[in-house]
């Protein structure tokens, strides 16, 4: 008990009076409510404005279905590609020392700081009718821009760093000791990765994948430039939302938007669960005296 009271007395010097605390919490919550909760609530309210029947009707429409299909296809290609890249880049950058490593890391980050519109534009310059490969592509009757391949490429670009950015700090913090031990004991490189590295990075990996996936499905600006907006063919879900909204089909626009908002909510829930699981792992590991600093939480953000 005495330890408890002395702890409380020590705490009194490092916290604020109750009224300050409650005011700060209040202001923060009001801000969060206005800027985050209200927009989220508005999506679902507007979608259900004319009742559940109208909502389902708005979604059960060929153009909406084709938009959903295209979004899923795009994510199904972009995420695995960036997953392979992310693991390879993290292995090279985190496990070895080499010249130009810092520069390479900066380049991996580059797509984050490029405007989505510029990201779309560069593929138009490469593959558009007047682009570098435009004449050749036309001669061979291959369409990249204003077609599905362009959408996939633009999505790959904007989601490029997500998984690598999660894995690099995680693998750097874990060091090479375990992998070196595995190699010394006779494991092949692939076995080492599969049985030693992968279990250590699995939470960071899943974390990166879900963030990458959320962005891949929700990307608007880059995809908008390369899509050509052909209904039923090159419209992803966010582009379909835009078209419906501009046609004043508010309920339909918000109905499709509500699916994307659900995706966002699911992403946030999975992310919280992963963080919680990781904390549990850390606590379990903390019971055993650690020999080296443990990996950081996958709290890195995009």
């Amino acid at each position: 008990m005495s330890a408890n009271t002395s702890a409380r007395r020590a705490q009194a010097g490092t916290t604020e009076p109750t009224w300050v605390r409650y005011s700060l919490i209040g202001i923060a919550l009001v801000f969060m409510f206005l800027f985050l909760v209200l927009p989220l609530a508005a999506v679902f309210t507007e979608a259900l404005r004319k009742g559940f029947g109208a909502y389902v009707e708005a979604l059960n429409e060929p153009d909406a279905w084709s938009a959903i299909r295209l979004t899923l296809i795009t994510a199904a290609i972009a995420v695995p590609l960036n997953l392979v890249f992310g693991v390879a880049a993290a292995w090279a950058i985190a496990k070895y020392e080499f010249k130009g490593k810092a520069f390479l890391t900066t380049l991996v980050d580059l797509p984050f700081s490029v405007s989505p519109v510029v990201a779309g534009l560069i593929y138009v310059l490469m593959f558009g009718a007047q682009g570098w490969f435009g004449p050749w592509l036309q001669a061979h009757d291959i369409k990249i821009v204003f077609a599905v391949p362009g959408i996939v490429l633009a999505t790959v670009f904007v989601t490029f760093p997500f998984i690598a950015r999660e894995l690099i700090p995680l693998m750097q913090a874990q060091g090479n000791d375990e992998e070196q031990a595995a190699i010394v004991l006779g494991a092949t490189g692939w076995q080492t990765f599969w049985y030693v590295t992968l279990p250590n990075i699995k939470w960071g990996l899943i974390y990166g994948v879900i963030l990458c996936n959320a962005r891949a499905m929700g990307e608007f600006g880059a995809v908008s430039v390369v899509s050509g907006h052909i209904r039923g063919q090159t419209n992803t879900m966010p582009l379909h939302v835009e078209i419906l909204y501009n046609e004043y089909q508010s309920v339909a626009a918000f109905a499709v938007a509500s699916l994307l908002a659900l995706l966002a909510l699911v992403t946030l829930v999975i992310k919280s669960v992963i963080e919680w699981r990781h904390e549990q792992d850390m606590k379990a590991a903390a019971d055993i005296p650690p020999e080296r600093p443990l990996a950081s939480t996958p709290g890195a953000i995009v």
């Binding site: 923060a28 390879a88 138009v124 007047q130 908008s224 953000i301």
Partner: protein, 287 residues
């Protein structure tokens, strides 16, 4: 972009290249990076070189483009500053206090990362338009927040909030309470402790968060175009100028403006990297 300061045990890694796969992974990394990022980005430079200097200058300094720069940079700056204030507040409240629903609020901070920008755009517009939930009460008071530059700022605040919160939060969590106790013991008021002890230790993170929110806001497109109204000279952002030029098949003009934006974002990226390095030194110093 991570802000986690990690003391990498670099020196300990003496017997290098014991692990296999260096050539394979580095080779693939550079190949994929070149294919997806570097070669396409270089197209931007080569396309711009097809313009003469006068043409380039005219394309990137036309009155409509200048107005767009002013709006983009001005609105991004205001939004990032608002996010510094409220981002710090939210991070502080989440780290230092306990209250009901804290976990949910914490998870919700990342909503702008997870919510597609187009969805955020139409939803903010629906709220703030003259007939919206919020707009209908504000418009009679003469406060118009949609279809003008105010709307741009609001959308950019939404987009940038998590950057500040998520960079400041871990630094606040790691802050040493002993320093604050010492300050209190030495007779500092709580406010003095905050301004003289706590604030200096989180300032690098705060600045990093500001730069990240600013950089993201400069390039933002999806959430802004719905709420901005997109009037030339008034509420037209720079990315929209690029789209407009593209739709008129002015590829070279679009590319020139895009190059200006790219150079600016690359400079910002270097600034952010330098800030993060500073932050690492800053937080790593006492150890």
């Amino acid at each position: 972009m991570t802000a986690l300061p990690i003391a990498a045990p670099a020196k300990r890694r003496a017997p290098a290249k014991v692990l296999p796969g260096f050539n394979l992974t580095l080779g693939f990394t550079i190949f994929y990076l070149s294919l997806i990022v570097l070669i396409p980005l270089s197209a931007l430079f080569f396309k711009t070189f097809t313009l003469s200097w006068e043409q380039f200058w005219a394309a990137v300094t036309g009155p409509r483009v200048m107005a767009a720069y002013r709006l983009t940079f001005g609105a991004s700056l205001i939004a990032a500053l608002v996010n510094v204030v409220f981002g710090l507040l939210v991070a502080w409240v989440l780290v230092r206090y306990n209250f009901f629903g804290k976990k949910i609020v914490d998870a919700l901070v990342d909503l702008p990362f997870a919510l597609p920008t187009a969805v955020a755009g139409i939803s903010l517009t629906a709220l703030l338009a003259g007939n919206g939930w919020v707009g209908q009460y504000l418009e009679p008071l003469g406060i118009v927040l949609a279809f003008n530059p105010n709307g741009v700022v609001i959308a950019l605040i939404f987009i940038g909030l998590p950057f500040v919160v998520r960079t400041v939060q871990p630094v606040l969590e790691d802050a040493e309470k002993e320093l604050e106790e010492a300050a209190t013991c030495l007779g500092a008021t709580r406010w003095q402790t905050f301004t003289k002890v706590i604030f200096p230790s989180i300032a690098p993170a705060l600045l990093t968060g500001f730069a990240m929110a600013f950089a993201r806001a400069i390039g933002e497109y999806g959430s802004v175009i719905f709420i901005a109204g997109n009037m030339p000279m008034v509420s037209e952002i720079t990315p929209l100028i690029i789209i407009g030029k593209l739709e008129q098949y002015d590829y070279a003009g679009a590319t020139a403006v895009a190059l200006v934006m790219l150079v600016f974002s690359f400079v910002l990226l270097l600034v952010i990297n330098a800030l993060q390095a500073w932050q690492r030194r800053h937080t790593g110093a006492p150890a």
